[in-house]
């Protein structure tokens, strides 16, 4: 049977269960949706203070990755993959660094200056209770303007 997905948001009925996290040295506490898309699309390469962004992602089929893409970024995982492949195989850009688990994601973000990534809220709470790792949570601003945080 052929079913068209709804035209609205990529998330459909999914509720967001993931958050953007960054290394503790990142001064931003929020980004606009299109900035978040540009970071994870490997198009925006620096933070507002000019420091290079280091992007970490989970595997395309990881449930947290799927939830993050659809409910936070409003894109489908395959679209990010297509965009990265286009950059990588035309030489015009690079792909993000893929990590193998949410635990690895948290430790890489905590230990890599200027890093950005995402993790499930559940995993983040688990770590916050243990207080073993310090990362910043980055919120998505409701309305972003192109001139908000130019370098």
């Amino acid at each position: 049977m052929i079913v068209f997905a709804p035209l609205g948001s990529a998330g459909g009925n999914l509720t967001p269960t993931s958050v953007i996290i960054a290394n503790a040295n990142v001064i931003e506490t929020s980004v606009s949706l299109y900035q978040a898309k540009s970071f994870f699309g490997m198009k925006q390469l620096q933070w507002s203070n000019g420091k290079s962004v280091r992007v970490f992602v989970l595997a395309d089929h990881h449930l947290t990755h799927i939830n993050f893409c659809k409910t936070i970024l409003n894109v489908f995982p395959y679209q990010l993959r297509v965009a990265w492949d286009r950059l990588v195989f035309s030489g015009t850009g690079q792909s993000p660094t893929q990590v193998n688990s949410e635990d690895e994601m948290l430790s890489r973000i905590a230990n890599t200056p200027n890093a950005i990534g995402y993790v499930s809220v559940q995993k983040l709470l688990e770590y916050e209770q243990k207080k073993t790792i310090k990362v910043n949570v980055i919120e998505i601003r409701e309305v972003g303007h192109a001139s908000d945080s130019q370098s």
Binding site: F4, S9, R54, T97, V143, A146
Partner: protein, 418 residues
């Protein structure tokens, strides 16, 4: 490569031989999958804290066709002369400086001989680098900004099928639209509604490959094409903020001078090739619908006199349907007419006694399936049902009276990439 002479009446024998070869090929493929699944070499190689990256791909295809040859001697059995191997490296010194290069070996029957070539190699400098605006230059050898698939047409995982739509991304004279040496100026504006990406290219576009020369001059052309001036290319692509719609316009103008040598029969002295493409793509979770329409103005001159002048018209519509995780179905119709004012080649056939009308156009129905065995390895199968031979190469089909108007192809492909 397996070449089986195929006299009439031994179809069963041929099919058996084909089946054995396909089985041998699949076994080889399975061995490769097994090898890679045990390997730790499963994703991009990052070094220097992610500043340096190495990526690559290896693709092997298999083609069997009824009547006309494509990617090798495919009409007499199975051609394995379809192989693409590439490796690239990039290093980001800082947010404004990137260096990248890719080498490619591509074997595609008589159209590409598999020799190693620098596919691209350039320095990318950004002058403006904010979240709203990017402006930069690339210097060196870059892939041409040409349609939706031009830059990565040789990377199987980025293609919509085993082969790119031939009417627009023609393989038989592919060097013309592939890459150029010179400078690109690129610009990106990002707003809440979407992003607008513009690339302007001023490059040298050599068309001295055998495929192009055999087409424009003749199968035994030995002379050399030179650029009159740098070729100009422009592409503007817009993507909506929700990434559902992508579309835009591409244009190239390439003017060449031909330097004949003794033996060339009545060669032209100059050529102008000028394609433009309109592209539109819609994507949702399960579907990607794509259409591109192109016209290509071609002019040949001899001693400042126009000797040939025609506008080719090409288009395709394509749907990709992700019906289950790891699976994708492809359905495509593509069509081209070398001269849009003589779409079925009738006038062409009437003008020359031995001319064949169906060499002037082609229409291809394509159905295919993609299966992602692992995130790094995929298999594809594809059926083509074709009328006309506009995009087959004279190098693979040297005797035009042997060409068939109606023909079909079956293709299989495995590709590993990291």
């Amino acid at each position: 490569m397996l070449v089986t002479h195929n006299p009439k009446g031994v179809c069963i024998a041929l099919n058996l031989t084909s089946a054995i070869s396909i089985w041998a090929w699949l076994k080889q493929g399975l061995a490769i999958i097994t090898l890679f699944s045990y390997s730790t070499f499963s994703s991009a190689l990052d070094f220097a804290e992610g500043k340096g990256q190495i990526h690559g791909f290896i693709t092997q295809g298999l083609v069997t066709s009824k009547h006309n040859n494509f990617y090798g001697d495919s009409s007499h059995g199975i051609s394995l002369d379809f192989r693409e191997v590439g490796i690239n490296g990039s290093y980001r010194f800082n947010t404004n400086l990137l260096v990248s290069a890719q080498t490619l070996s591509r074997r595609a029957g008589e159209m590409d001989d598999g020799s190693l070539a620098l596919d691209y190699g350039f320095v990318d400098l950004r002058a403006i680098n904010t979240d709203a605006t990017t402006l930069g230059f690339r210097l060196g050898r870059m892939k041409n900004p040409y349609g939706l698939y031009g830059e990565t047409r040789d990377v199987a995982t980025t293609r919509p099928g085993i082969i790119v739509p031939q009417p627009i991304y023609f393989d038989r004279s592919r060097k013309f639209a592939l890459s150029g040496d010179g400078v690109h100026l690129y610009h990106r504006i990002q707003t809440n509604n979407g992003s607008l990406n513009t690339t302007l290219a001023l490059v040298d576009l050599p068309i001295n490959d055998r495929g192009s020369k055999s087409l424009f001059i003749g199968p035994n052309a030995q002379g050399k094409f030179d650029q009159d001036s740098l070729s100009k290319a422009l592409r503007i692509l817009y993507e909506t903020d929700d990434t559902r719609w992508r579309g835009g316009l591409s244009y190239i103008s390439a003017s060449q001078r031909y330097h004949p040598i003794a033996g060339d029969i009545n060669p032209p002295s100059g050529s102008l090739i000028e394609p433009w493409i309109v592209s539109l793509q819609y994507s949702n979770e399960q579907w990607t619908l794509t259409g591109e329409y192109s016209q290509r103005n071609t002019e040949f001159t001899r001693n400042q006199r126009l000797i040939a002048d025609y506008i080719a018209e090409s288009w395709y519509v394509q749907s990709q349907y992700r019906f289950a995780p790891k699976w994708e179905l492809l359905l495509r119709y593509d069509a081209t007419a070398m001269d849009r004012s003589d779409a079925k080649g009738k006038r062409f056939a009437a003008s020359t006694p031995s001319a064949i009308p169906f060499t002037r156009y082609a229409q291809d129905w394509v159905a295919g399936v993609r299966y992602d065995v692992t995130p790094e390895f995929m298999l594809r199968a594809e059926l083509h049902s074709i009328e006309g031979t506009e995009w087959v190469s004279p190098l693979e089909n040297p005797v035009s009276s042997d060409l068939n108007k109606h023909w079909n192809m079956f293709m299989l492909m495995g590709s590993y990439y990291f």
